[in-house]
């Protein structure tokens, strides 16, 4: 109201406006936040970047001859961690997202009774503490006493030494993560599904589209933004993967389930080599950024 009034009454030829100093008060009000942000967010980011160029183990014994970055390039263990992380990414994320999509469609079905109960049931794994669920998975897949091997031998199949062999250990990890995160993604996708207008389906039904056609031609394309959101989050999450390999397989056997996350932890908090850990952290962040941009480019167009 006042603005319109002023614009109509302002003189046609404006006198050069007096440059008003920007008011100080708002900045004073956000100053505490800015200080906290600078101290606890911005500075650590800068500091760990600087640290990645230093040998933080310098001290009593011989220093590491090369810089952390050149060590990273040559480090066989880093390559193992990167490879393992990518293997999990390539297998687990598509598996989980397809499952979650199917689950979301099922949960969205009008035929489903007690939908709320099912939605809760599939979301529930996320509520369970990570340490507790990791312990349960360790027990389930125990070679001698686990229920999985009991079931296998009961069916006349050979028992598998799940946690002491690289391939099986990796599959236990993938299974555990899928169990935990599928429901979470399904709930996000469900929200996406509910954003699709009923009219579209009605129109399609009138045109004689089968349910399968409706799924492929309507649901999936319209769900694309939500799927993309889930994909980017899952990829970033997998690149930072730590809890499951640390607690279920302890990065083992050997280093066969070591991820970038557990290697970073190992270097930073077991070997106290914060410089090298910082270099790893920056590499993980860079990879995550590249992946996100790639996904947005590949799947995010024509919206």
């Amino acid at each position: 109201m006042t603005t319109t009034a002023r614009s109509t009454t302002s003189p046609p030829v404006a006198t050069p406006p007096r440059r008003k100093r920007p008011p100080l008060a708002p900045y004073l009000f956000i100053l505490p936040y800015l200080l906290i942000f600078a101290t606890f967010w911005a500075w650590p980011i800068v500091s760990s970047f600087l640290m990645s160029f230093k040998d933080s183990r310098l001290g009593a014994a011989a220093p590491y001859g090369l810089s952390n970055w050149s060590r990273l390039v040559q480090d066989e263990f880093f390559r193992t961690a990167l490879r393992n992380t990518l293997v999990i990414l390539v297998i687990q994320v598509p598996l989980m997202l397809s499952l979650a999509t199917v689950l979301a469609v099922a949960l969205n079905s009008k035929l489903l009774k007690a939908a709320g109960l099912f939605r809760f049931a599939f979301f529930a794994p996320l509520v369970v503490g990570t340490v507790a669920y990791s312990a349960v998975f360790r027990l389930l897949f125990n070679t001698d006493f686990g229920i999985v091997n009991r079931a296998l031998t009961g069916l006349g199949l050979p028992a598998v030494d799940w946690l002491n062999q690289s391939g099986p250990a990796m599959s236990v990890l993938i299974l555990a993560m899928t169990w935990r995160w599928t429901g979470y993604n399904a709930i996000i996708l469900l929200a996406g599904l509910q954003g699709i207008s009923e009219d579209v389906y009605e129109a399609a039904a009138i045109d004689g589209a089968t349910p399968a056609q409706q799924f492929w031609k309507i649901t999936l394309p319209l769900l694309r933004p939500t799927l993309l959101f889930c994909l980017v989050l899952s990829v970033i999450g997998t690149l930072q993967l730590f809890t499951e390999p640390a607690l279920i397989t302890n990065s083992g056997p050997g280093n066969s389930t070591m991820t970038l996350g557990t290697y970073l932890y190992q270097q930073g908090f077991r070997s106290f080599n914060f410089g090298y850990a910082s270099a790893i952290a920056y590499t993980v962040a860079a990879i995550a950024a590249i992946f996100s941009v790639l996904q947005l480019r590949l799947f995010g167009r024509e919206q």
């Binding site: 011989a62 590491y64 125990n142 001698d144 002491n164």
Partner: protein
């Protein structure tokens, strides 16, 4: 010189006089069983120093480590008066924060050096400073099931070398159709057996000056070779910490080799197997060779920030430096003393009912003097990570010989630490 001596003796006299009227509070950070053990020594300590109030805080192992680190990084802020530290992890502290802890020599620790076996000091001293006092230790022994050995016709007294052990394991396999193994080894999860056997053969990841990677030396080659022999003869199973416990509880393991602190692990996890267990010395690598080694153990240090250093040191001297304190902890929590005089305590000579009245502590402590020194260094975790992988790969058959495997391990450890490989 004379003057220095005079002032020194004056100092000693005054500190001796001060000992009787120490006062104040001594706060201790420790964990689980270790905290309970320290608590059990407090009444004895208060008989000597009634005015000192001792507070043992049980933070849990990981928390003690993390908070100690944070405290040292913050220049000693919020540190306790006495700090518990594991030997294997200790050197990271001395290397990163040499000023965070008191050189115990300045409080008189140099006078009690000989009361402990030499190997216990190696990880606790750096640059001529004595940063912590030895506490418990982990002399390695073989725990075994008397009943299972007997059923398989094995006499533990005949097992003197690893070859004898393998021969016994074949008998065990024959008797139980492979359902009971001689032992459970961590493979791919840990390298404890390698460390125990390497130490037995006088070898370790690094030399005792922490200046070279020595993991490819003959003693270590023997150690890794023995582990492969055990696997190839199918006398051992694979299992991590938890898996090892479940197998002995289920009667699938006829023996277990570990630091003696495993005594409590067996006793508390399998109370129903009371009287069935016994102890014998770890087998030697060659006839007449050493049958002693060490795995694990802790120490107590005094942070420089402590305001009550004299009282804290007095507590260390009572809890760790007196047979009274050490035996109290042995009785209450089974912590194996490293104080040599504690080995002569009457309690050590008593038969223990869980172990079928065998005098296990005498057997276990008797090996202390034979343990070769070894050093974790600040690079312990890097080296361990390499060895876990190399051991698993060698068992799998990736390398032709143990020497080849360890040459590769040495190369990797050297590249991670920057230390040269010993010739």
């Amino acid at each position: 010189m004379k003057k220095a001596l005079l002032t020194l003796s004056a100092l000693l006299i005054s500190s001796a006089a001060a000992q009787t009227n120490l006062s104040g509070t001594v706060t201790i950070w420790s964990w689980d069983v270790a905290a309970k053990a320290l608590q059990s020594t407090v009444p004895g300590f208060n008989k000597k120093h009634p005015n000192v109030k001792v507070e043992v805080v049980d933070l849990g192992n990981q928390n003690v480590y993390d908070r100690g680190l944070a405290g040292c990084a913050a220049g000693g802020a919020d540190m306790p008066d006495v700090y518990s530290i594991e030997n294997g992890e200790a050197e990271v502290f001395w290397a990163r924060f040499p000023d965070c802890f008191v050189d115990l020599n300045t409080l008189g620790a140099n006078k009690i050096v000989n009361q402990f076996p030499a190997f216990k000091w190696t990880e606790l001293t750096a640059n001529g400073k004595r940063f912590a006092m030895p506490w418990d230790s982990g002399p390695v022994v073989m725990f075994y099931r008397r009943d299972l050995y007997q059923q398989a016709g094995i006499n533990p007294n005949d097992i003197k070398t690893w070859d004898d052990y393998i021969a016994a394991g074949k008998k065990m396999n024959a008797k139980f159709g492979g359902n009971v193994k001689m032992g459970t080894i961590a493979n791919g999860q840990d390298d404890e057996w390698f460390r125990m056997l390497a130490n037995q053969n006088g070898c370790f990841y690094f030399d005792n000056a922490a200046s070279q990677v020595t993991v490819a030396r003959p003693g270590c080659v023997t150690a890794l070779g023995t582990i492969k022999k055990l696997y190839d003869a199918k006398v051992v199973a694979t299992g991590d910490w938890g898996g090892q416990i479940t197998s002995f509880k289920a009667g699938k393991a006829a023996s277990a080799m570990f630091g003696a602190w495993y005594e409590g692990t067996i006793r508390t996890n399998a109370p129903d197997q009371k009287g069935k267990w016994g102890v014998y010395l770890m087998p030697a690598s060659r006839p007449g060779g050493p049958r002693a080694s060490n795995l694990g153990g802790s120490a107590l240090a005094i942070p420089s920030a402590s305001k009550n250093k004299e009282a804290a040191f007095a507590f260390l001297q009572h809890a760790l430096g007196s047979a009274d304190g050490q035996v109290t902890m042995l009785k209450s929590q089974g912590l194996v003393p490293s104080l040599l005089s504690a080995t002569r305590d009457p309690y050590v000579a008593q038969g223990q009912s869980y172990w079928a009245n065998q005098k296990v502590w005498q057997t276990i402590l008797g090996t202390l003097g034979d343990v070769p020194p070894s050093r974790g260094t600040q690079y312990f975790q890097d080296a361990r990570q390499v060895m876990v992988v190399v051991q698993a790969d060698y068992i799998k058959g990736k390398y032709k010989t143990a020497k080849e495997a360890l040459d590769d391990a040495a190369k990797k450890i050297s590249s991670a630490t920057g230390l040269p490989i010993a010739k």
